[in-house]
């Protein structure tokens, strides 16, 4: 076997605490990143990039965000769509009102605004837990979306209420709006994905990540070791909403090319929640796996009958989709709450010894 963990001795704590402790893992991730940056824009078709990779990457950011809140900190949230909408609307507002501000500053700024909103809606989390907190975040979902639709200020009094994304460029390449090329958009989104995934991993292995997990696993004991519950929960809400806000801004500006409320309705919140559940709670890798899985499954279902020369009515496919998702969610909740990421880990552990049982 080429891939093995045995004999890979770490001689310093810094090596033992590295993000990827096994050299082969490290090379694999480097190679994958390099391929995503260089190879994909050269090789992938317009359709693959524009309609699959870009949305999957953006949704992985949202899934990362929700995973920080739900997976790491244990606070159930159904407000993901609303926080994404906050990012989208505020990114539009900032981009159109402060025209000179570069777009790569606008989007994190919109994320910060979403973070502030997230903190406000996270305040009840000190008092309420579990399902009740989920309902409180559901209030955020409906209230914020209502607010963005009702107050024309957010869309600069646009008559249709669905303004197109303002065209903005980075290094001379247009990255937002309908006229932008898919390669430029893809690379722009990818830059955010890489940076945010790296930050998420760093946070997860630092003090702040441990305090989130401590609150998740046992809040009384967490208080005992000196973790203050409110700031810790609010920091999770803030960072989660920041990620969701960035994802929402990218979704509106780089993917659907317009700012519209229907893109961020309750279904989006559930979609991202499913991604986190299927992908794996409390795992950065799981957020990516979940996002890809949940987004690609319907596409696969739609095109698979065609490949084998068989045609199924599209409404039947939609029904199958609903059933399949239902079954999958129940399956993962019961059998493997840690999702695809855990299955991957188990597969690795089994393969390490294969073909011997132990």
């Amino acid at each position: 076997m080429l891939y093995r963990e045995a004999g890979q001795y770490k001689t310093s704590y810094s090596a033992d605490q590295a993000m990827l402790t096994i050299p082969l893992d490290r090379w694999f991730v480097f190679a994958l990143t390099a391929f995503a940056i260089i190879g994909v824009p050269l090789l992938a078709s317009e359709y693959l990039m524009g309609s699959i990779l870009i949305p999957v990457l953006i949704l992985s950011i949202a899934a990362l965000g929700l995973n920080i809140l739900t997976g790491y900190c244990g606070q159930l949230s159904l407000g993901t769509g609303a926080f994404m909408a906050a990012g989208a609307y505020l990114a539009y507002k900032i981009a159109t009102n402060i025209v000179w501000l570069p777009i790569w500053v606008v989007i994190p700024l919109a994320g910060l605004c979403a973070a502030a909103i997230g903190i406000a809606f996270g305040l009840p989390s000190l008092r309420i837990k579990g399902f009740y907190l989920a309902v409180a975040t559901l209030a955020a979902q409906f209230f914020l979306l209502w607010l963005f639709v009702k107050v024309p200020w957010f869309v600069n009094d646009s008559i249709s209420g669905v303004p197109p994304a303002p065209p903005r460029s980075v290094f001379g390449f247009q990255v937002t709006g309908a006229a932008a090329g898919n390669e430029a958009k893809y690379l722009f989104v990818l830059a955010f994905v890489i940076a945010l995934a790296w930050i998420a991993r760093n946070l997860a292995r630092s003090r702040i990540g441990r305090s989130w997990m401590a609150i998740r696993d046992m809040d009384i004991a967490a208080e005992l070791v000196g973790i203050r519950p409110l700031p810790t929960k609010l920091s999770a809400f803030a960072i989660s909403s920041f990620f969701c806000g960035v994802a929402g801004a990218l979704w509106a500006l780089c993917y659907i090319n317009s700012v519209e409320p229907t893109a961020f309705d309750i279904n989006r919140s559930f979609q991202v929640l499913f991604m986190v559940i299927v992908g794996g709670l409390g795992s950065v890798l799981g957020s990516f796996l979940g996002a890809a899985f949940i987004f690609l499954l319907p596409i696969l279902l739609n095109s698979a009958p065609g490949w084998i020369g068989y045609s199924v009515a599209s409404d039947t496919i939609t029904h199958i989709e609903f059933m399949l998702f239902g079954v999958l969610i129940i399956f993962f909740l019961i059998v493997e709450p840690h999702g695809l990421a855990r299955l991957w880990q188990i597969a690795k552990e089994k393969l390490r010894l294969w073909p011997f049982p132990y």
Partner: protein, 260 residues
């Protein structure tokens, strides 16, 4: 074995009521620096409530608690932790989804100063602190002999080891006062012996003052420098193990007499 030091913690006339239930009534005692102090008594005597008061989980209606010469009122558990009080629980309170190492690292939580940005980018203090505190944590791991389970999620560990990890987490905070709520409960003889050894070496080598609740009288009498006996929320007796063992009230209420 007795090494009387200055008074570290002074509990004065503590009364704690839950509605009409009087959990503690006018309990006073002092814990001296460097001693092992045991709180014993029958079930429901208020022993754990006493620890919860010291620790800030409960706020007694009357009385004062003075720690390091400072009187405190209405203290929250994280503030007690910041002052140097750590504790373990009767029924283990570990973070089950985290590894042993991560659990013990949480014990260093209050000593870490890295800002959010430094942590997000794992640079400067964010990185230095992780490594520096890891070294301290490894000392505790060596001390308690749990090297082999470093990377195991604690939920998968057997009970005796979980108790030990919990002690490790408490020790990682380098407390001045360590509260142990039934550290030997549910253990077999060997595990108890190990735990006794760890409690003693914590006290001797690290100089930590320890207040413990325990039902195993052999353990209590061997380990502790002084013992206080509670019954129905009231203090029955206080003194060295021998004094307490000879006290008629204590024999009647708790210890009993052997019929052989």
């Amino acid at each position: 074995m007795s090494r009387p030091g200055d008074i570290l913690l002074s509990v004065k006339d503590i009364s704690l009521r839950f509605g009409g239930v009087r959990a503690l009534t006018d309990v006073s005692f002092d814990i001296h620096e460097g001693e092992i102090f045991a709180i014993i008594g029958p079930n429901g005597a208020g022993k754990s409530s006493m620890l919860n008061c010291i620790n800030g989980f409960y706020h007694p209606q009357d009385g004062t608690i003075t720690f390091k010469g400072e009187e405190r009122r209405q203290m929250r558990p994280h503030e007690a932790a910041a002052q140097g009080i750590s504790r373990t629980f009767q029924n283990i309170a570990l973070f089950k989804g985290m590894t042993t190492l991560e659990n013990v690292m949480t014990g260093r939580m209050l000593k870490m100063r890295a800002s959010f940005v430094e942590q997000a980018f794992y640079m400067l203090r964010g990185r230095q602190e992780e490594i520096a505190h890891r070294e301290k944590v490894e000392e505790v791991i060596d001390f308690l002999e749990i090297q082999s389970i470093r990377k195991t999620p604690v939920g998968r560990l057997p009970y005796g080891l979980q108790k030990r990890v919990e002690l490790a987490r408490a020790l990682a905070a380098e407390p001045q006062l360590l509260l142990l709520d039934e550290p030997m409960a549910g253990m077999n003889v060997e595990e108890k012996e190990d735990m006794c050894r760890f409690v003693l070496s914590t006290n001797h080598e690290l100089g930590t003052t320890i207040a413990l609740i325990e039902h195993d009288m052999g353990v209590v009498m061997d380990l502790s420098d002084r013992v206080v006996v509670l019954d129905y929320g009231k203090k029955l007796a206080e003194g060295t193990p021998d004094e307490v063992r000879g006290n008629q009230d204590v024999i009647d209420a708790y210890l009993g007499v052997s019929h052989d």
